[in-house]
């Protein structure tokens, strides 16, 4: 029942990118900067940001002064969307997935107890993650950061 590092890094990087956009609208942020601030291996982060770009969450610009920025407003990006992009379906087992259903090996799905229970789990997870927007996340982070350390604000 684990989120992969990819999914974890994706969310943390997005928060950083979204936070930057919040501080300096229309600015771009480089992979290397995000990697430094988040402790994510740079080359690995590269792949992740690319996936987010291809998934329509980020947009990018190459060359000097290039970098990444959000492709849409932060309140149109959900955690569910991000995690699905990097980690695939949210459902604990494929036979309860809405977005990518696959039958399981049990003799009869209708009477399969696991199926019945996991449908509820799936709905709970999707309910939380699909309604959790990046902007909400950034808001929470901001609250913590600004209340805790002031010098941080100048550190950027």
């Amino acid at each position: 029942m684990r989120l992969s590092k990819k999914g974890e890094y994706a969310v943390r990087a997005l928060v950083e990118i979204g936070f930057e956009a919040h501080l300096r609208p229309n600015s771009l942020i480089q992979i290397s900067t995000v990697a430094q601030r988040t402790n994510i291996p740079e080359k690995f982060l590269e792949q992740i940001l690319l996936a987010l770009r291809n998934g329509g969450v980020l947009k990018s610009k190459r060359g000097v002064e290039g970098g990444y920025s959000l492709a849409k407003d932060a309140d149109e990006v959900t955690l569910g969307e991000v995690i699905r992009l990097l980690d695939g379906p949210l459902a604990p087992i494929p036979c309860v997935s809405k977005t990518s259903y696959e039958p399981c090996s049990c003799p009869d799905q209708e009477s399969c107890g696991l199926h019945i229970a996991m449908k509820q789990v799936r709905d709970a997870i999707a309910g939380i993650l699909d309604s959790y927007t990046l902007s909400r996340l950034i808001g929470e982070v901001q609250k913590h950061r600004t209340s805790k350390t002031t010098e941080w604000q100048f550190d950027i």
Copy 2:
């Protein structure tokens, strides 16, 4: 965010064992029988049942007429307990796990957006699975089975 085959098989096997106990109290059921009824590879199932036994969910008896049965009442076994035994913590990331916490690599956990969100996911998953008893599951399965096919009852 996936449940492993081990976890999946464990639940399905337990339902089968519990169902048997419900039909014939004090009876034992053999690995091979469970394997046949559930389509689970027998030798793999062996390991799983062993883990459940060592975890206190099942008890066993060797030799002729031996087999497995529940070690406690079906309404004292929860899905959360079973899945933790086979798959480890329910938490999507270790830094929000209550049963086996581990710090993550993010610069500051308190202000980590992922942390904040995943705590909610963890609570939702645990809330469902830790209150979902085996007896409830068996009840659901029984409803489906008896309402759907009658011949099945004699098939055992």
